[in-house]
Subunit: 330 residues, 2 copies
Amino acid sequence: MERIMLAHGSGGRLSHELIRNLFQKYLGNSYLDQMNDAALLPGLEKIAVTTDSFVVSPLFFRGGNIGKLAVCGTVNDLAVSGAIPKFLTLALIIEEGFPMDELERIIKSVAETAAEAGVVIAGGDTKVVERGSADKIFINTTGIGYITDRSVGPDRIQPGDEILITGTIGDHGIAILSEREGLEFQTPVLSDCAPLNNLIDTFYLPGVKCMRDPTRGGVATTLNELAQQAGVSLLLNEEQLPLSPSVEGACGMLGLDPLYLANEGKALVIAAPDAADQVLLNMRAHPLGRKAARIGQVQEGKPGLVLLETFLGGKRILGMLEGEHLPRIC
Amino acid sequence: MERIMLAHGSGGRLSHELIRNLFQKYLGNSYLDQMNDAALLPGLEKIAVTTDSFVVSPLFFRGGNIGKLAVCGTVNDLAVSGAIPKFLTLALIIEEGFPMDELERIIKSVAETAAEAGVVIAGGDTKVVERGSADKIFINTTGIGYITDRSVGPDRIQPGDEILITGTIGDHGIAILSEREGLEFQTPVLSDCAPLNNLIDTFYLPGVKCMRDPTRGGVATTLNELAQQAGVSLLLNEEQLPLSPSVEGACGMLGLDPLYLANEGKALVIAAPDAADQVLLNMRAHPLGRKAARIGQVQEGKPGLVLLETFLGGKRILGMLEGEHLPRIC
């Protein structure tokens, strides 16, 4: 009997197979088939909607907690889709016996992060299950945004376009891992967990062709999705990848590739060559974009192929995340 | 240290206290403070949104399963709010090791029920947690609907209005309980789990002033909410309550009050006296409303008071559900 495995929730290959073989099979429609981070819905005033459940463990970590994460994750899915995030719903599944003060800290954090992002919690739900039937608390947020005239999507990507990222990679993944394993670094690694909509408002120009937030599965998996959807090849330059020294050290020590680690406050941006310089300047002018960098290029070539030009000058293929290294990263 | 208890998720008194003391305190805004089943959101084309997580146990029961329930629950919250349900998002939290064939049955059921209700699943998310960190599967659905000119809400309720219900009460609660306890009745009790939007389209008239679906906490708890929000007294007549013989028998045997049992396919309707007869006729013309009945009246008197006139002619106060008799009923 086939069974659900942790990797089905990883955002990697098995997740994609599950979507194709089960969800698209039964539920496929023109909205779901867009396969973007948010669904754009018709109406006289167009709206965008996206949903995400958060099961991160531990609940509290350096740089954030499950409440902050639940707001950022959904706000960011709307923002990278070119929408202006406006409303969130918040649904909690709580284990019997969960401490009220921890719940209060989480809800406060939801409120603060929603205020920072300028979104309104427009609805909610709470379920409590018996002790042992859920691990502490799970949170679903669903977001609704207004559609702007920002036309972004993988269909606009062309050879010659530049690949930019708004800052260092792998911080969230290492922050969670170090909490779990009790690892101490000289400079502690903080999760990058942040709402990106204000940053995006700052750097956006019509030359921006596509945006994604590289969460579960990391930069490598997100770029694989884009390369497939756009039918292009992507070439990344390892030397240009922004990495904090602590994340670089942790990855070296633990044998992890930062390209597969989750980020919760970074946008990958594909920009036209004549716009890329200005977009990069705009990014760096915002506190969340100071470490923004150009990290690669869109190329002709085998559709769906993502290549990494390494420090040594060689090239290797970057596939999607296989299996699940870090369950419950978000 | 104060801790979350099962009753915090019951829909009863402690749920209301949690909402007031925690969620409204930190997250209160004009949308959440409406305290209706769905939030009505501004925009050139007005939309409604509602969210609900489903943790029902067992997952499969006579008359439905968690997938069907997750669609009905959210569709019904939109429909009783006077909106036309249009879009749903679907977010799954699945325990590692969950059988794929059961997941497939659930997703099929989601698709079938969404088709029956005429709603489109517009987004989704899947998380998997380690074995033991969740009990099999939890489902969140968030729904978006279009606002109609149906003006319904507790503020329209006036003394003299009639209280109607679209059919028998307590069926879902008894169906779940009998699955859990292995009870057999001569005529098995099926959950009433059904999307109500088509039924509501059939019976709605401008004389309909308010609609609610009496789920967790049952008819008694829902009527308490309405009586408080509208600042009126409500008088129910026990003799007029539609009950299936099996539910009546089960309640007698188990010492349960059907007024506190969950329903998942019933609407409570407050209608103006001159519209009530026609609304009732319209209800009975639809397959889901054949057992519709007039069950009470809105009265002057102590705001928030709900009274039951018993078979014996006496009157007793019906309070909100206290504690939690049946956790994970939805």
